[in-house]
Symmetry: C2
Subunit: 346 residues, 2 copies
Amino acid sequence: MTIQQVATEAGVSPSTVSNLLNGRNHRMLPETRQRIERAIDKLGYRPNRAARQLRTGRNTTIGLVVPSVGNPFWGALARHLESAALAEGYHVLLCNSERDPRRERDYVDELWADGVHGVVLCSSLPSLEHVMPLVERGLQLVAFDRTSQAGDPASLVSISVDNAIGSQLATQHLTDLGHRRLAFVSGALASVNRKERYRGFTAGLEQAGIDPATSVRAPVKGDADDFGDVEASELGRAAAAELLALEEPPTGIVAINDMCALGVCRGLRDGGLEVGKDVSVVGFDDIVLADLYAPTLTTVRQPMKEMAAAAFTQLRSRLDDSGPTQGQSLLFRPELIVRESTAPPS
Amino acid sequence: MTIQQVATEAGVSPSTVSNLLNGRNHRMLPETRQRIERAIDKLGYRPNRAARQLRTGRNTTIGLVVPSVGNPFWGALARHLESAALAEGYHVLLCNSERDPRRERDYVDELWADGVHGVVLCSSLPSLEHVMPLVERGLQLVAFDRTSQAGDPASLVSISVDNAIGSQLATQHLTDLGHRRLAFVSGALASVNRKERYRGFTAGLEQAGIDPATSVRAPVKGDADDFGDVEASELGRAAAAELLALEEPPTGIVAINDMCALGVCRGLRDGGLEVGKDVSVVGFDDIVLADLYAPTLTTVRQPMKEMAAAAFTQLRSRLDDSGPTQGQSLLFRPELIVRESTAPPS
DNA sequence: CGAGGCTGGTGCAACGATGCACCGCATGCT
DNA sequence: AGCATGCGGTGCATCGTTGCACCAGCCTCG
């Protein structure tokens, strides 16, 4: 089923069919147009993507580079991004970097070599230097879950939740419930996102008139520079043990993310405490597990669907219409989801 | 960076470069070969996939159609399949069917239209009739987590865990611990996989000299024909409540999968029972959550990595070497992972 | 009445890689 | 000498689509 066959069937030239297919049909007789459309339907014609891409240099595939879709958080992003892309006829090429900077770089290179001009990059790297050469050559990049940095390319779009606000909401929720001794559990505050969440935590404390100095940032040993997701839960578990060993253990705990929070819950239970009664725990992300765990986890939801849709929209507009080339940051409003893991202090 | 530029740089014709790239270098002077290789390195040349595909009709992309990568089980598959593919220079195009038969069908169609000749299909549909036309035209299909059916295409490869054995292992584990009153919790036994798991359950009972008639298949109301993953946990929760209402509640429960098992745990806790002490629960799949939950969940592991690798290998060999075209079923050996949710009856 | 404009298309040369057919040369065989 | 054979490559048409350049035919206008 080539465009040639359609043209023959419709009694026109391939160019005319191509014109219609590409919206250059301003001065085309409605009759001609209908003949072509009928021929397309009859033959079940679909343009050959390879030929099209070869000719135009463009394509309708975007790349998604995530640490690992095995992690529900990224899985959710992949799912929603793909949905948004599908609606516009785009495809998503999936790449798991496995948190390996080299693999991340190789993937972006390869995507570019394959003619993919738009990539949603979920990088664990603080610097995007490794992809700068491609960005200069026209690669459109959306950084996801990573706010913009000074050294980032000017055209970069960053999509992220407002981490400070989210964390502050979580903290306020605990202080509103009456908690006065709070702890913040996280690995090293290596990324901007983590720093922002910590900032939200202290802001929340201050607003409640609590001196941040009396609160605790859980002093986790082996404060890993970066950590994966299973690690996050182990980290939370260890942190909980440490917190329980304090003279005055906190009654409310804000965790850097849900996986970490689940680990904290685990650790608290190890110590014989009941989450949602003896101690309150708040997570961040609202992954699927949050609503499945026992007790269900109070957490700060990232509006994944909207964020994924925005990522696609941004890429698309820059790819197609060569829309705005100037970079921008989109900060989404997080939402506190109250569940069973938080309650007034006993 | 075209093959022409490489040819010029190496002082040969494009054909010669192409020959080398495609392994037709039997009768090529080592010196010529080196000149070309140096030129490729120097220019950082990468063959243009679109051009290659247009010319050959082949490509190095495989499709993966899953219900939703938001589900950790499928996320894990996607991750491992992608890893296996990457090692051979293949790409994975991700498609979420969202359990919509129509979307599933459209995706397979579109993949085919895009020149993708190999697809790993994780279908929730009992019949594969909707893709038969494409299979007849040469589409290579691997069905994942779905054992072969009588009506399936002859060339179909099925990859699945041995569900009956897995379930039997789970059941035996419980009987070995001394449990005599067991229950099996599942939605409708609509799929072959579910039937097999139930068969393993009864086989396990019989082997322990227990009359299956005395055991319970949890009589869940609104026995959904098919259910998603959040539903699975709710179903488990409801089933647990029903089981607890029995005169002689079971002391050991085998769940159809981990999500369902987590729901069961939830329901038992609602009823004031402690899982891993008052009641034992075994799941199936070994998703990430299983090791995070409290208590950690005893379950039957599906060797995802190996299964994903096999899926890719099967596709690849049929795509490249036009290897065996005869279909086959690969049944992987499941492994019982004992954790905290099972213990001798109290 | 001829230049210019509009209408509704068509012709053609690419895009980059492929792989069959073929080539000139040297050597072997009869 | 005459022909076949092996060697190490090269020439060229081709995959399906695109979009600029162009073209006939008709109309308008000074």
